[in-house]
């Protein structure tokens, strides 16, 4: 009996069928948008809710390739640079701290006893709820936003690293000790290299949360940045600029995610293969 390529739990969509299936939702959404936008624009040519592709391209061209009249900057690139700097700083700090804390918590039970309950509570705090505290204590400059991203991603990453260390079989630690390793060598030469890919995938999963906190912080108090721009032009109902910005942010997020995945795949070929 021949099995269906599309239906049922044994289906194995392959080749062009698979690609078409993947593209289908994208095409449907774009088509639906085009139709809806067209209907609204024929009714009222100055409608702002669903701008045409043409006006969105115009707006994108204006921010990306025309210097701003007031400052002389290219707004999109300026915003992207500021946002990525905040995101990078916050995530880099969170990753480093999570690595060293999680690693030592996992290896040394004494440290784990005194930090695990605290970290669990810390992870429970909704970061956005402490945003006012962060702005009051760190100021509305860069450090407040970086601190929010840090606070939003660090506890979960540290916990993830801790769990990854705990999953390393005790046999391996014993084995290293019988080969003459000191406790420090066990920590930094046996355990650390093994959890690096896990740290990277943890970072990958934290990217989404980091973007959320970045945009929230920029919406509340900033003078540039991708989130700042969206919330600024919201006042003029500039959907023609908001939509390209959202697509740009999505694209950036996708690219970052893709890069980390590629690093894991090529740098740590042994990972996930057991």
């Amino acid at each position: 009996m021949k099995r269906s390529k599309l239906l049922g739990i044994y289906a194995q969509p392959q080749g062009w069928l698979k690609i078409t299936l993947a593209l289908l939702p994208f095409i449907l959404v774009i088509l639906a948008y085009l139709v809806a936008s067209d209907i609204r624009l024929t009714e009222n040519p100055s409608d702002k809710l669903l701008p045409s592709f043409h006006s969105m391209l115009d707006a994108f061209e204006r921010v990306a390739f025309t210097p701003d009249r007031r400052t002389g900057d290219y707004l999109l690139w300026q915003d992207t640079l500021s946002s990525l700097t905040r995101l990078g700083l916050g995530l880099a700090l969170a990753t480093l701290c999570a690595l060293f804390l999680g690693l030592n918590m996992g290896v040394f039970p004494g440290l784990a006893s005194s930090t695990v309950p605290f970290m669990t509570m810390l992870a429970m705090i909704p970061p956005l709820a402490v945003l006012p505290i962060l702005f009051i204590s760190f100021g509305v400059g860069e450090s407040g936003k970086v601190a929010l991203i840090f606070l939003g991603t660090f506890p979960l990453m540290a916990r993830d690293v801790y769990m990854a260390v705990r999953r390393i079989p005790a046999e391996q630690i014993t084995k290293a000790l019988t080969l003459g390793a000191s406790e420090l060598a066990v920590t930094y030469k046996v355990v650390l290299p093994q959890i690096m890919p896990r740290l990277l995938s943890s970072l990958r999963l934290s990217l989404g949360a980091a973007w959320l906190f970045l945009i929230a912080a920029e919406a509340v108090a900033a003078t540039d940045g991708l989130g700042y721009r969206i919330f600024l032009v919201r006042r003029y109902l500039s959907m023609d600029l908001i939509i390209p910005y959202v697509i740009w942010i999505t694209l950036l997020g996708f690219l970052l995610d893709y890069c980390i995945r590629a690093i894991i795949k090529y740098r740590y070929s042994w990972y996930k293969s057991e």
């Binding site: 046999e171 019988t178 080969l179 042994w270």
Partner: protein, 293 residues
Amino acid sequence: MEVSKLHIEDVYKSYDGKVILDNIDLTVRKGEFCSVVGPSGCGKSTLLRLILGQEVADQGLIQIDGQEVGVPDTQRGIVFQKYSLFPNRTVLENVLMGKLFTKGKWWNPFYRSQDDIDEAMEYLRRVRLENAADKYPHELSGGMQQRAAIAQALIMKPPVLLMDEPFGALDPDTRDELQVFLLELWERENLTIFFVTHDLTEACFLGSRLLVLSQYYTDNRGEHAPGRGGRIVADYPLPKVANSMAVKDDPEFQQLISEIRESGFDPRVRQHVSQFNLKHSDSFQTLLPEEHV
């Protein structure tokens, strides 16, 4: 008498009030291939963990080369059933780990010297893995992984090599092949091996000395004494045999196995402590008065 490699005297271990090891006495001399068998729950893995230093005995003395054992260190090598290799390192790097730990500076995670690499390659040749030096452990078969783990332990020249059911996860053919391989290695390198297994045939085939650990025995402590823990109920010297699988079908060999199975593994057959079959010349027993008087 020369100093024994491994010396254990009056060792007790219990978990949550349940006695696992009950007055273990044992001494193993250099070059012995000491295999340990016993029914499940007899404490053979616990005994190995005590020697390894992963756990601490409640009472008693454990010495290697006359020194009391502490936390795991280079006094003994270990090969586990699995997880002996570091998955993020190639076979060669795995074998070099001991050199990295003992000769490399603490701040240099990339320490290597050509002498060490040559030595590691020599060990890989001995375990017939010279062609797999640059492979990662997950690219190897189970038997190759265990051979790599043996090379990894041997390069440190441990006074005693502990093996915890090292062939337990292998398919029968690979297991036979590795048994012969290990015997050859043992003879050539004059190793002292402490080999724990639940497979009686394997224990009899490999060992030059066979220890049976069992909780099925009686003594004069009375019926109502707290549960008895595992104890060495038999200690045989085994004849050195040709390294061939054929011996497994030999009637004498079969006879020995069924004898041990009855005395050590059958809960209905309980020997008295004073009647244990401790034929090996290094064997000794420290009985308490209440146990046999």
